[in-house]
Chain length 491, copies 2
């Protein structure tokens, strides 16, 4: 245990909580199950948002905003949807409080009862498709490519910061198309964008695949997902993209006239990622010393810490540090010069390590004499002394190298923890010994899937998109199968 | 009436609704009182957000996120606050629905009643100060300079798109300070930032001032505001900045140890602007032909419309237009080339006029021969023909000119509609004939303020910061006064 962080090996779950807390990312709120995203945590989320938003816009999507409230009756319009979401929602029944007659505060005013209760959106398909009905008349109105950044609420009983909270932040894309093919292509396009974001920006390798019938989104025809592997060998679903078919168009009677004037139901998709990605990011890379951030998502990429004894040294180092700040900012890096004299260099080193700042530059009196600086990498802990003249070229390169190196490390870990098994005994043994992703044959039935889940808590994470056809026997039932799927215990 | 827009002179209120609808800015949602912000409207809001966020960050603020839900008991902790907000809030009482036994859908599950009801935040002082209690121990933890972008709900009975809706989007800054002076300075700083944003970006002149006791924020010591004048002579409060004193610190017991170790209550501020600014923007500049946008907030600053008869002409114009797009984008302008052949040039002209695109470039066969383009300004309707070679220099300058010109026009209008009056008859006459801002002496009592409001519906918009001391008599009571205040009927 260092700096109050439990070692992963001792208690992985506590390690995670410690990092969220000590790196100032988030905390529990007075309202059970809700979280407060602290400034440092939020600044990482902002970087994620900016990048995703850019990718959405580059593929022709625009943002809009739909209401927080869903009329109760809307939920019931799509049969699978209501089954999936009615069980865990926040219900608004009244619109006013009044003073309690005994003077002890305020109570709900019984006269202010809503005729129809409102649900806080757990997701917005129903509100949005009820609106699309008015926006879509002809094929000329299609496709409709809309995204919304919003808060949603799902009343979870067991919550964990970022991973599962009653209220969370997310984006939800909702698109409408004139043909099935176009909607399927959109679904896959957004899955690929999520995968690209996860791998290139979060430095987190993911497996792209399709969910089994039991695991798909309530109301979807097909759900595609990206699945990442955490350091404890558990899987984390990091994003989903749903092909909705004509389900919501039928539920809300959304038709368009095609170019021959024939009325058809519209085809839909929806796709989302949430603040859950913060949990994934933390667990994918961090170590027993704290957070490890990929440079592309680090709010501070480089921190400069001065080391001095005399005021003269301090002044000289500050001058040099200011030059370096200016230089690196001109190269597009986010740099912070921590010249606070209320904290010692050692305390600062530990602090920035905890917060996952990718590179630290230390400048001391010896460096000033030699014209050098010391650079420490957060991911490997390596220290290098380089000439001050090299700083401007070295740091941008180092950022790329760290980004790449973090991804490779995570990729290596996943490779080591992706196991093909052919028997039920092997399945259970691998699951209990090392965990990770297990590639196994499955007979394609929900019955087998349920039994495996019941016996081992492992679920089918996905049917990978890049799976090769391969004759085999279901690891559980022994029935024929022609493709391996990915099993894991999951968050 | 042109393009389905009612003339301002005929029905100002309908004119506003028409613009919001025809320019595709927003619409009412199926949930009473809530709005759907449509993609074009949202893209204007995004530009506002980006600029404000930049200004907040430049002054040292960081973003964070606090929960949507406020426990009912929190509201009661600050006496004025609960009076102000309990009357119009959405109350969550249950956390689950269940299938109705008669098979007709879902009903609220009576077994899933919350022990303590939750309020959807109408504003977040209570949740945030209950959190600050844990974040602040010593003067070293101060100042705390935090902002949040969020949705809030106030259950309004009469709603108007953007101006007054049950749910709206806003930012709320919540800062904590070690001294009264610092908190007051922060309050004023944020007021100035709002004023700067309104004037330099929205091109909307505002009067900066302080609210009277009756009009201030429930829980504040002082509320400062910016007040803008709409074209119908009514005032619109466009932003507020509150000095909270130690009120919320006392309500939530937030103390800090000063540098001598003495425990003191923390000083606070809060400040916010909302999607209401969209309503202000629309009403400040638009005309009977549609929206007029200041270039700095226009999602599309320049649109290029090709005019052709033959495929040859089309190809040649497209090539030229693509060059211009590239050139203008390299100068930082947001340009759209509308080459759709499903719509005629005249239709496009009307469409972009309606949507307030600041400049339109038309290129026809004659232009191609002469090496010219035709440029039309949205704000004045003026058309100019310039050489194609000048486009790259002309358009960026034109954007500045339009920004400036729109501001001057609004400023001139306000100047013409700011009237000093000295008698009660004059007051009533000006209010009923031309409206606008009325500068009048007031005796400083809530009683007079109430009576004026009762008799005329005019309220004190603010006590202007730049008012000069001037001996006079209250326009209503005749009692002595040493400063004029601003009265108006308001949104």
């Amino acid at each position: 245990m260092s700096k109050g962080i439990t070692n992963r090996a001792d208690d992985y779950s506590q390690w995670y909580n410690d990092i969220v807390k000590k790196a100032d990312l988030a905390e529990h709120s007075p309202v059970r199950g809700c979280m407060i995203i602290k400034p440092y945590g939020y600044s990482i989320w902002e970087k994620m948002q900016q990048q995703l938003d850019k990718m959405f816009k580059e593929t022709g999507h625009t943002n809009a905003y739909f209401p927080l409230f869903v009329p109760k009756s809307f939920l019931s319009k799509e049969a699978a949807h209501v089954e999936g979401f009615a069980k865990e929602c926040a219900v608004v029944t009244h619109y006013r409080l009044k003073n309690n007659e005994d003077g002890t505060g305020v109570i709900v005013d019984p006269d202010a009862k809503l005729e129809e209760e409102l649900i806080i959106r757990p997701t917005s398909e129903t509100v949005i498709w009820s609106t699309y009905k008015n926006w879509i008349q002809s094929y000329r109105d299609l496709p409709l490519l809309i995204n919304q950044w919003a808060n949603v609420v799902r009343w979870e009983m067991r919550t964990r910061l970022f991973l599962r909270t009653a209220e969370f932040l997310w984006q939800e894309g909702h698109t409408a198309h004139a043909s099935k093919q176009e909607a399927v292509e959109e679904t896959i396009q957004m899955l690929k964008i999520y995968a690209q974001f996860a791998e290139e920006h979060m430095a987190m390798p993911v497996i792209q695949g399709k969910k089994s019938e039991s695991e798909k989104f309530p109301g979807a025809i097909d759900t595609y997902c990206i699945e990442a592997l955490m350091q404890d060998g558990k899987a984390l679903q990091a994003g989903t993209s749903h092909f909705l078919g004509q389900n919501f168009a039928k539920a809300f009677d959304v038709k368009f006239a095609d170019n021959e004037g024939k009325l058809e139901y519209v085809w839909g998709t929806s796709w989302g990622v949430s603040t859950r990605l913060m949990g994934a990011l933390i667990m994918a890379h961090s170590d027993d010393n704290g957070l490890v951030l990929p440079p592309k998502l680090a709010p501070i990429q480089v921190v400069i810490v001065p080391i001095y004894r005399t005021d003269e040294q301090k002044a000289a180092i500050e001058e040099k540090a200011n030059e370096i700040v200016k230089l690196l900012r001109s190269k597009g890096l986010s740099v912070q010069f921590d010249k606070r004299d209320t904290h010692k260099p050692g305390w600062k080193f530990a602090e920035y390590e905890l917060k996952g700042v990718p590179a630290r530059i230390a400048i001391g009196p010896n460096d000033m004499e030699n014209g050098t600086v010391e650079i420490a990498r957060r991911d490997t802990g390596e220290k290098t002394t380089i000439s001050m003249d090299e700083v401007g070229n070295y740091l941008p390169q180092l950022m790329d190298e760290i980004q790449d190196s973090i991804f490779k490390k995570a990729h290596g870990f996943r490779k080591d923890n992706l196991t093909s098994v052919d028997t039920w005994d092997q399945f259970k043994e691998v699951l209990d010994s090392k965990g990770g992703f297990i590639l196994a044959h499955w007979d394609g039935t929900a019955e087998t899937e349920d039994k495996i889940k019941e016996e081992t808590k492992a679920t089918i994470r996905c049917i990978p998109l890049d799976a090769v056809e391969e004759e085999g026997k279901c690891v559980y039932s022994g029935k024929p199968s022609n493709q391996r799927v990915i099993f894991a215990r999951a968050y």
